[in-house]
């Protein structure tokens, strides 16, 4: 986002050259604010949706009464902000027998991973006052997809640390289960993502989206990798649910049998960090799914103009805003799908979980990779190279 930010400030102030650290701090602040606000909204939405699925209303009483009377979807807006304040004011208990260093390290690790994974995620692009379409991301890394997979693995370390350091039998069980579950679903996930890598010939998430927008076999509608790599998309989505420990893959936390698993001994803000990271990671996998399989900020055959003239006022960066709107609409559609899955399916048994991952998803992702290889070869030989 460096070139766009610099251009924007130059336009605004008439030639002011920003120091190099300004875009870094601005993007950091934006991402932190986004994580906090988005997690609050997602928790509210999750409670509303689970309420609807279970024929309840979800939170209704916290917030303006008039809105709650208007409809169930406008009630209880203040529930999660109030919960956050409550967590901030709760006693921070560190039990006597824990390994203190590991106990304090785990929430730090889990949030570091949750924050750093935002770096290569592209949310839009713009051609306004730029030589070509420039991808809007914190920094569109060349190895974006690999980086994302690598950095989310840090979560395993954090959960194992939390489970072991707590010196609690429930936590140990939860931590070990989480470790083996995330490890097992990492492999099919990686192979499922390899299909799009072959099709696009790039690991940069920005390039992946641009290749999808260009279309497959000259047909824009086939461009979204959801179509050529359909099995991969399904495998990725299932693995993403498992990686974020969401039900039906929530053995590590299993409230009814493991008393919240690895986070049993955590209270107050340390617990809140695990919770925040979990919701943030859920949204991140939805963003990755959007960028890799759903064409990111683009729609087939649609290129928004870089600025719109409203008659009395010319709106610059229109393509950036339109792209962001499209991207977040898609990402939230995936979020709704994950929530629907969560509240519909019962929890899996550990042995079924392992069998499902290793003996079903992994062979399926191999098949997907082979299909993608054939399609990529046909595209390359008969329809030429990538625009990216």
């Amino acid at each position: 986002m460096e070139p766009i930010f610099e251009q924007f400030i130059r336009d605004l102030t008439g030639g002011f050259q920003v120091p190099f650290w300004a875009p870094m701090l601005v993007s950091l602040g934006l991402v932190l604010a986004f994580i906090a606000l988005n997690a609050m909204f997602m928790i509210w939405l999750e409670r509303k949706i689970c309420g609807r699925i279970q024929r309840r209303m979800g939170p209704m009483l916290t917030g303006p009464k008039a809105w709650a009377r208007f409809s169930m979807w406008t009630g209880g807006w203040f529930q999660t902000p109030c919960d956050s304040v409550k967590l901030l004011l709760k006693e921070d208990i560190i039990p006597a027998q824990v390994d203190r260093f590991g106990f304090m390290l785990a929430p730090v690790l889990v949030f570091m991973a949750a924050l750093a994974v935002y770096v290569p995620l592209p949310i839009s692009s713009t051609s306004h006052a730029q030589p070509g379409p420039i991808v809007v991301a914190v920094a569109d890394l060349d190895i974006g997809l690999l980086y994302v997979v690598a950095i989310t693995t840090l979560t395993i370390l954090a959960i194992l640390t939390a489970g072991w350091a707590s010196n609690n039998k429930y936590s140990l069980l939860g931590g070990m289960r989480a470790g083996v579950q995330i490890l097992s679903y990492e492999i099919p996930m990686l192979f499922a993502l390899m299909g799009p890598m072959v099709l696009a010939g790039s690991l940069s998430l920005g390039d992946l989206v641009l290749v999808q927008h260009a279309g497959l076999f000259g047909v824009p509608l086939l461009g979204w990798f959801l179509v050529p790599s359909f099995l991969g998309a399904v495998v990725y989505l299932i693995c993403a649910v498992a990686e974020t420990n969401r039900p039906p893959f929530d053995m590590p936390e299993a409230e009814q049998e493991l008393v919240a698993g690895f986070s049993t001994e955590y209270t107050a803000m340390r617990f809140a960090m695990f919770y925040l990271a979990e919701f943030s990671n859920t949204f991140v996998v939805c963003m990755i799914f959007t960028a890799v399989f759903l064409g990111g900020w683009t729609l087939p055959g649609f290129t928004p103009p870089s600025s719109v003239n409203l008659g009395f006022f010319s709106l610059p960066y229109f393509d950036l805003l339109a792209g962001m709107a499209i991207f977040f609409a898609k990402a939230y559609a995936v979020v709704l799908l994950l929530m629907w899955i969560r509240w519909t399916f019962p929890r899996l048994r550990p042995d079924h979980l392992m069998t499902f991952g290793w003996k079903f998803l992994l062979p399926l992702s191999f098949v997907n990779l082979l299909i993608c290889i054939v399609l990529a070869a046909i595209q390359q030989i008969y329809f030429g190279g990538n625009p990216g």
Partner: protein, 124 residues
């Protein structure tokens, strides 16, 4: 990769740590703190724990971790190939690229079949 992208990653990692530490410190300043013997005991649904939790643990987990390492390393070798595939076709090396992937997926597939056959993938 543009110059300075590594700085973004470093900044985000450091900022994540600082964020957690400052939030926890803030909560320590605001929240009450009245520790007691019962409160600081490990939670076991009200029972007094008989021993610690740092015990020898089911070897099954480590077996899966080992299989994971095997597949993950293979995947790490496959990613450069996946990225280079279309460029290799462009250079007229379709057969070489195809042979590469057949060998790689063959090795991976037989490793999976071996682990499957030896019942290493069976959870007990």
């Amino acid at each position: 990769m543009q110059n300075g992208n590594g700085a973004y990653i470093a900044l985000f990692l450091v900022a994540g740590a600082i964020f957690v530490l400052s939030v926890v410190t803030l909560s320590r300043l605001l929240a009450p703190s009245r520790p007691g013997v019962t409160k600081l005991r490990p939670y076991e649904c009200g029972e007094v724990p008989t021993s610690g939790a740092w015990v020898q643990y089911n070897v099954r987990y480590y077996l899966f971790a080992m299989i994971f390492v095997l597949f993950d390393v293979e995947a790490a070798f496959l990613i450069p190939w996946a990225v280079a595939f279309r460029t290799m076709i462009e250079d007229g090396k379709l057969l070489l690229a195809a042979a590469d992937i057949v060998v790689f997926l063959g090795v991976l597939g037989s490793a999976l079949a071996y682990a499957w056959r030896k019942e290493a993938l069976k959870w007990v």
